[in-house]
């Protein structure tokens, strides 16, 4: 089999979370059950209607570009991309051609190997989404219909360089992109509803006899889940490899144009769509109905002031300042902004990043999964957990006792009792879970246990460390709530003196 490298570039389309559409004041809402209700003369493309830029959409675009490390243009304009399709009521899409509002950026994310991957971005531009054609799927051949609720929704197109080298990398890239967009709040990134979708440009570099031969590029259109993205690319790589071995067609061969394929998830294959690029001439030209946008330094500063910490910076902070492992930092941050904010709040109260990480990534995640609750619904708030863990950090509770309190709090919540951080102390008292820090009391129990277990005590004195465990166990059993480490040390001190 040929030795090859997979070359992938992604075009990500993101619907922005504005109240209104890009060029009119119709609501921007997913509403497939009531077609054509969110329309007006502008987005219907009626004669004489004119577009007016929604400045909010432009601001969200600038914010996104900042998060994607893109360079921002101070002057940007609107162009018409012209083609005929029933879901495109004006016969052109208002988009950006040669002067996009941003270019040259990058996205970084961690590979499972621990290696940091950087994917460069060519550009991001703002455009209007098209409507939706609705075809008769019964096969009875009824007329197709058009729903223009979506027409004019602000859509950001983010184009990467072909820096991605595998289907997994493509998925990780898109996941990082989604996390970033969710964190800065510019899109709901609902892939099922189409607010985040992507096209993948895939080809292979065949390495043969010291030569690198690129194969023809295939664009896989409209991938709307991480799973489909990964599966479609995996399939496509295999298919292209087979094609190469059969036909040996190279990129640029006249009989090997760029082609467009779609992914059929039922069969797990990509399917050839229409011929592309070579035939299409979009006749881009500047839209005479819209004035160019000039971006001021003040505007940029105001947007910058609204930016929150980006996921990559957050992971770095967790590792560098809180001492988390790269893995833990990744788990917390990749859960999304809400989860990481919960974690941050727990750390702020308990002061122990690692302890908080263990609890949030294990106990909290497990419980929210089991209970099918969002963090907002989860009864143990960051304040309660932080307070609980601060007692552990101060050795007032053992880990085990804290778990008991945690379980008790959840049990109370299930009985619809109100829970709060004040309940922690009450539960500790009720269940006698407090760590016994009175060394006199521990000492008394140790003396009694040693007296009852002369044989074991002698073994320890003789250097048999394995005899220590049962003694610690007996002391712990009598004391409940003592810190095992403290008990262990006191026993060693006693028996070695």
């Amino acid at each position: 089999m040929a030795n090859y490298t997979t070359i992938i570039g992604l075009e990500v389309h993101v619907q922005l979370l504005t109240n209104t559409k890009l060029f009119c004041s119709c609501p921007n809402r997913f509403n497939p059950d009531n077609p054509n209700v969110q329309t007006c003369p502008v987005c219907l493309g009626l004669p004489g209607a004119l577009p007016v830029l929604n400045r909010e959409a432009f601001k969200l675009s600038l914010k996104t570009a900042m998060a994607l490390n893109l360079e921002l243009a101070r002057f940007t304009k609107w162009d018409r991309k012209q083609y005929y399709y029933p879901d495109l009521p004006k016969g052109y899409q208002t988009s950006q051609f040669d002067l996009p509002f941003s270019s040259k950026g990058y996205v970084e994310f961690d590979m499972p190997s621990g290696e940091l991957k950087r994917v460069r971005l060519i550009r991001a531009h703002l455009e209007e989404d098209a409507g939706k054609n609705i075809h008769d799927e019964s096969g009875r051949g009824a007329d197709s219909q058009v729903d223009l609720n979506r027409a004019g929704t602000p859509l950001l197109e983010i184009v990467s360089e072909p820096d991605i080298r595998s289907a997994e990398e493509a998925r990780l890239y898109l996941e990082e992109m989604r996390l970033l967009l969710l964190t800065i709040g510019v899109s709901d990134c609902n892939m099922q509803e189409g607010s985040l979708r992507c096209d993948a440009n895939v080809n292979l570099h065949i390495h043969e006899n010291g030569e690198t031969i690129p194969t023809p590029i295939v664009e896989i259109k409209n991938l709307n889940s991480f799973r489909f993205l990964e599966a479609a690319i995996e399939y496509e790589v295999k298919r292209q490899l087979g094609q190469w071995e059969k036909e040996r067609k190279r990129l640029g061969d006249v009989d090997a144009p760029k082609t467009t394929r779609g992914y059929d998830p039922d069969r797990g294959v990509t399917v050839l769509q229409r011929g592309k690029e070579g035939a299409a001439d979009y006749r881009y030209f500047p839209c005479p109905d819209l004035v160019p946008v000039v971006v001021s330094e003040e505007e940029l500063a105001a947007i910058r002031a609204t930016l929150v910490e980006f996921p990559s910076a957050r992971r770095r902070r967790y590792c560098d300042q809180l001492g988390l492992s790269a893995y833990d930092a990744q788990v917390i941050v990749n859960q999304g902004n809400e989860f990481a904010a919960y974690y941050d709040a727990v750390v702020a109260i308990c002061g122990d990043g690692k302890l908080a990480a263990n609890w949030t990534t294990q106990d909290v995640l497990r419980q929210t999964n089991d209970r099918r609750e969002t963090l907002a619904q989860f009864p143990v708030t960051a304040e309660i957990l932080g307070t609980l863990l601060s007692k552990v950090a101060k050795n007032e509770l053992t880990i085990k006792a804290a778990r008991d309190v945690f379980a008790a709090l959840l049990a109370e919540a299930d009985e619809e009792k109100p829970i709060s951080k004040e309940r922690i102390d009450a539960i500790v008292t009720e269940k006698g879970l407090a760590t016994i820090s009175d060394t006199g009391a521990i000492d008394a129990v140790i003396n009694a246990v040693v007296a009852r277990n002369e044989k074991a005590a002698a073994d320890v004195r003789a250097g048999k460390q394995q005899a220590l465990g049962p003694l610690v166990g007996q002391v712990m059993k009598e004391l409940k709530g003592a810190d095992a480490k403290v008990v262990r040390q006191m026993l060693i001190d006693k028996l070695s003196s």
């Binding site: 003369p41 004669p47 006749r283 881009y284 004035v291």
Partner: protein
Amino acid sequence: MSTLMESTRELVQRLQSGETAVSLTQSCLNAITSRDAAIHAFVRPIADGALADAASVDGRRQAGETLSPIAGIPIALKDNICTQGVATTCSSRMLEDFIPPYDAHVVTRLREAGAIIIGKTNLDEFAMGSSTENSAIGPTRNPWNTAHAPGGSSGGSAAAVAAQFAPLALGSDTGGSIRQPASFCGVVGLKPTYGRVSRYGLVAYASSLDQIGPFARDVEGAALLFDVIAGHDERDSTSVNRPVPKCWDTVNQPLTGLRVGVAKEHFGAGLDTEVEAATRKAIEVYRSLGATIVDLSLPHSKYAIAVYYLIACSEASSNLARYDGVHYGHRAEKFSNMIDMYKASRAEGFGAEVKRRVMLGTYALSSGYYDAYYLKALKVRRLIRNDFDAAFEKVDVILSPTSPMPAFKVGEMSDDPLKMYLADIYTISANLAGLPGISVPAGMSSSGLPIGLQLLAAPFEEERLLRAARMFENATDWSRRSPELNH
């Protein structure tokens, strides 16, 4: 004698001193009924709506309300200006059944001011043409001589004012479509500065050139109507937010120290001798009024027609893409698939001149030709604007013929689109440069057809333009002439 023989100011005074808007409107409607069959200025009159609106204005006036001077005056609208609930056809088969669900911004302004919308007037299909012959409902005739064309594309509006069907009308001017028919029909036509009047609701031909403007029997009427329609509209991104002067109040104040520019390029080959003589006479009129005459050059004006047809057709090819038979407008009855539906609907819906311009524009924007045609045209457009910027440092207005010839005969040019395009040679530059321009009656040809004089001014200098034009009008009697009306 027709009730509309008086000046606009006399008409306003009549309405303010007892004549009802209903009786004025009714007399206009009667004139249309009895005489428009010969002229064909209207696509459709709006009799019931106009009379109801007039009655409402009369009611408000009788109740003692202070109304705009335009209140109660009937006005005709070019049929590419959207009127809510009333078909707006652009004289195209494509839109013969299109009823807009909204009013154009200018229509809203007119209604608020109490103007009476009396009907929709004929035009070259989608405003593409200079004769009002390219209309799906047939040509409009020149009221001075029905064998002749009224000019275009706002020929219906110009003819409606000349034939005294309405004292005022609105047209749109993309390359001269207000000024040229005004000159052919012996009325006043004003194209405002690009961005001065909202285009919201004007069916686009070439968005970067289109501008709505008034027709009237005299300069005062143009000032009155301009005041009502001018001003910022946030629904049109290209509409400019700056104060609008009250031209109705100032139009009769003569300008002192007026500097009138005369460009040698406006007196070149193809200029009719009678038109040239009338224009030279107009220069002398200004000299006698104390103006300084300044010789000028506008070296890039020779490229104006080429630049115009590249830019206008390119924009038109895009603006008219929406007429695809999918959502509204004409849809062919027979087609075999989607592409075929587009083709058949557009082939049936558009006339020859629209198809010609859509094809020209599509070609100019095509990959491989864009830089050589469209982009180059944009650069030359800039140079044309620079010529004017330099000129307006030396002069207040630039005087020229409006059209190189008086009205040609209906059918005379239909086989020669290039010759027809040359009829706009003096008007097109103002659109490319975004300037305000006005045409005022300035003479009669030996065959009894009106000759128009064009004045151009720097951007947003409409007030100065109107006052300069009014000086000429007051010093001559051309605006007070009317065609003979066959009752």
